[in-house]
Subunit: 159 residues, 2 copies
């Protein structure tokens, strides 16, 4: 089933109070979108973070992977900076998949990594503690977040 | 510093490209909002999930903790169901704090637990794998999510 079909079916179930959690075909549809992406944009301007994402995504797709071309500071003045950053990338590129990372909510709320499709629909994500609480180096944190976001929808990354 | 002050300062830093991650006083302000809440609404109509949240939140606040009074199925037809559910609770109650749990994004994207303040600002959150990928019972999953959401902003819950 394509993604629009799985969404339509799930929305119908919710309207009829007959929804009982995620289904195998939904996860399968999400995996297909990610694995078949031809172009991926990473919504960061930080070379170190980009490299980490590049290394992981290039193991699971044949996509062209590039960095967002415009600054995204403005996203930090919104309610959900990671989501806003991702949407800036969706709207300003023709990528099939966006990897976005930024603050979850207000300052102090820690970081949120998201994978979005070309319409801005959220496919998966992961959350880390505030950088004050954990003390890991940034590249290790981004790596763990991305691997975690992929594993939670059943995509295993080879080391 | 109160939360509006920490937000204003952080927004100024972002505008000036002088923001370098979360600060202690920001996490401290978030902790204060949660710990000093007088009323908490849990955006679920499931007794089992409510009980788990009640047991944890009652250990860290003296708040009156109640369940949302209206159905939230409609949130499942939005882009971010967990966020939409939380906002339904913000707008339809006078709670100081909202605990919301629902789908992260599209069907198959797994669950997202959020703590919001009375204005709908996101204070913290946590993410679990899709229920198909993990096989934990629902009460255990909710417990882990909530403890994780609190720990990542430095609030430890006594067992």
């Amino acid at each position: 089933m394509n993604i629009e079909e799985t969404i339509k079916t799930a929305y119908g179930e919710s309207l009829n109070s007959a929804r009982f959690g995620d289904k195998f075909e939904e996860i399968d549809a999400i995996q297909s979108i990610i694995k078949s992406a031809k172009s991926v944009v990473v919504a960061t301007r930080n070379e170190k973070k980009f490299k980490v994402v590049f290394n992981i995504i290039s193991k699971i797709t044949d996509a062209n992977i590039s960095m967002i071309e415009i600054p995204t500071n403005s996203a930090d003045l919104t309610r959900m900076p990671a989501v806003s950053k991702g949407l800036i990338a969706v709207d300003s590129s023709d990528a099939d998949i966006i990897i976005s990372r930024g603050r979850l909510g207000i300052p102090g709320s820690g970081s949120f990594l998201l994978i979005m499709d070309k319409k801005g629909r959220i496919l998966t994500g992961s959350i880390s503690p505030s950088s004050i609480i954990h003390k890991n180096p940034i590249d290790k944190t981004v790596e763990l977040e991305l691997i975690n976001a992929l594993e939670r929808i059943g995509i295993k990354v080879k080391k």
